[in-house]
Subunit: 361 residues, 2 copies
């Protein structure tokens, strides 16, 4: 019986999400390299094998070590290489096909001087998100990185990698698709410039990959969040409500009739402090009709929502009728805003069959 | 050597913070029941023993179990009792002096019917934060809770407990102090109403407890965050910058000269997504001059700050001169906004003497 905040995974929905994405990728005849930072779990990783997934992306050296220890042998660390972790990188590079991201002369010179085994590198290209990466027209730096790579026996240049994180600020499906088309077009100009080299374009972000059906203009896609989806993706229309595969089950501990507010055991250490805005009000999750016994949930409406979170408390604002039907000691279900951060905090998920799935620690 | 995001603890500052608070409490001749949700560590808990601390507050049943397992025998779970965890509560109640919070008839009736061992209860009073608790003038509910407690052989009513969380929205020191005086005055009216019962007032929040020197109007204080402090407390003027005992050490992985931005390995899974506003800009931490070798840090200025965090990336906006002096592979120091959430994510801290201090898992 659920006694405290528990992240419930609908395994059927999760498998369906993997299947849908993998079928689209196969149809486009490109490589599928799902990002595993969302689930961080060797058990869930295994579910991808059924769909012939052999290559993965992760967001840290430690995560690469974890998945390498769990028999994944083709891993891209999709984060600007942290040269301070060169020892772990060398151990990994000896054991598996390891790809790193570079975006500076300094990093690639360091790798040239310190790598003991072969790695692949991708040059990180900023195609509009402006978080990190080289500008697509910074040809002089790109040329220098290539020159240094060529002069190193342990570096093999594999291609260009981009993350279109600005799709998360898009206002419509069309805007997301346009970001994809524009970005991919820029990357292909770059690819053609070096077309004697057999470089690939690696592209990823769940909104684009969910809304685009034909990936044939890139060589590899790396979405991650689609495995679970969440309210953020739902708001972006990357998924339907029914595609969301995780719900947080939380005990009700207090009620405040004057304010139609319900206090749950479930706060920032469970959900994270990620929020979205709806009519200028913050919300940290939506209440659903949660039915563990019958293995399902469905949304009531957007008027019943988690309006604030402190460390362990969550405040749920609900309609009067809903208020009357929820009692202290009940377990209610809330769809999280950002499943990656929620899973990272919870460290495990429970399926409807009471299987507890652990993530890396 | 630091290779990845590492939460550094200045043990001297931390001990000083504990000492300062404990001396104020002793001078006021009230009970000190520090909240351990900030550090969640048996090692740091032991440091309090030097200051004769024997009673503690925690925010979950699991945290109570952890500290009970680490020889703490007087614990208040300062969170509305989660009746679904009654089994664990009964095991704890057999073993230690356990206090629970109630704020509804339903919860106290449940306890009466299900407790197997004696517990103390505090009635949670809302003195203006409006998160949870009974209104101070809801005498009919308070009376009923007392009546039910009196009829139970396993419930001993101990007093009234409040958390003035609204001090976190205060605009000045004076406002924080006024909240304290007003709240304590309301609680004393309540206490007098039941003055044949020897009830106590338990009060806590770091801003009030840091700014008030004489606690003699309450019986017990429960601050937690003061053990480390953080930028939120600094902004509230609960502490000086030098009182802050934690800094996050993060590797530099990329630089963007056009924007004077530095990309660090250190994101939402390290700092949390808690932010503050400065001139309408969000910031997730301030850059400091961090000198691990000489065991110190000091602030540059508020113009060098963590301006956004995604899962593992942090974007540091800096002045041009600062930009030129930070290189890829450097370790920089950032003071977190909210140390409770940062510690909860990191799960361990490292002192300047390379001692690694683990928290509960």
């Amino acid at each position: 019986m659920i006694q405290k905040p528990t992240l419930i995974l609908d395994k059927g929905k999760c498998l369906q999400n993997i299947k849908r994405m993998s079928e689209k990728v196969n149809k486009s005849n490109v490589n599928f390299r799902p990002h595993f930072k969302t689930h961080q779990s060797a058990v869930i990783a295994n579910w991808y094998k059924k769909f012939n997934v052999n290559s993965i992306a992760v967001s840290s050296v430690d995560m690469a070590v974890y998945f390498a220890d769990n028999d994944w042998s083709d891993i891209t660390i999709a984060f600007p290489v942290n040269i301070l972790e060169i020892e772990k990188i060398n151990i990994l590079a000896k054991k598996i096909v390891l790809n790193l991201l570079v975006e500076s002369i300094d990093s690639v010179v360091f790798l040239k001087n310190n790598l003991k085994h072969k790695v692949g590198i991708f040059i990180k290209i900023d195609i509009g998100y402006h978080r990190t990466g080289l500008d697509v027209d910074d040809i002089s730096t790109i040329d220098k990185i290539i020159e240094i790579s060529d002069s190193s026996e342990n570096i093999e240049l594999k291609g260009f990698l981009s993350h279109a994180g600005h799709t998360y600020h898009a206002k419509s499906k069309e805007e997301i698709k346009n970001i994809y088309y524009e970005s991919v077009s820029k990357l292909n100009v770059l690819k053609k410039r070096y077309n004697n080299r057999n470089l690939i374009i690696s592209y990823g972000d769940t909104p684009s990959c969910s809304l685009i059906n034909d990936f044939s203009d890139v060589d590899e896609i790396r979405p991650g969040n689609f495995v679970f989806y969440d309210l953020m993706q739902y708001k972006l229309q990357s998924c339907t409500f029914d595609d969301i595969a995780v719900v947080m089950a939380c005990p009700v501990v207090a009620k405040h009739k004057k304010r139609n507010e319900i206090i749950i055991y479930g706060g920032a250490v469970h959900f994270s402090k990620e929020y979205l805005l709806h009519n200028n009000e913050r919300f940290y999750g939506y209440l659903v009709n949660f039915d563990f016994k019958n293995k399902k949930w469905d949304i009531k409406n957007q008027k019943n929502y988690l309006s604030s979170v402190s460390q362990e408390h969550g405040v749920l604002k609900v309609e009067e009728e809903v208020f009357e039907n929820i009692n202290i000691g009940n377990i209610i279900g809330i769809i999280p805003v950002h499943s990656c951060l929620t899973v990272n905090l919870m460290k495990n998920l429970m399926t409807f069959d009471n299987e507890v799935i652990e993530t890396m620690r």
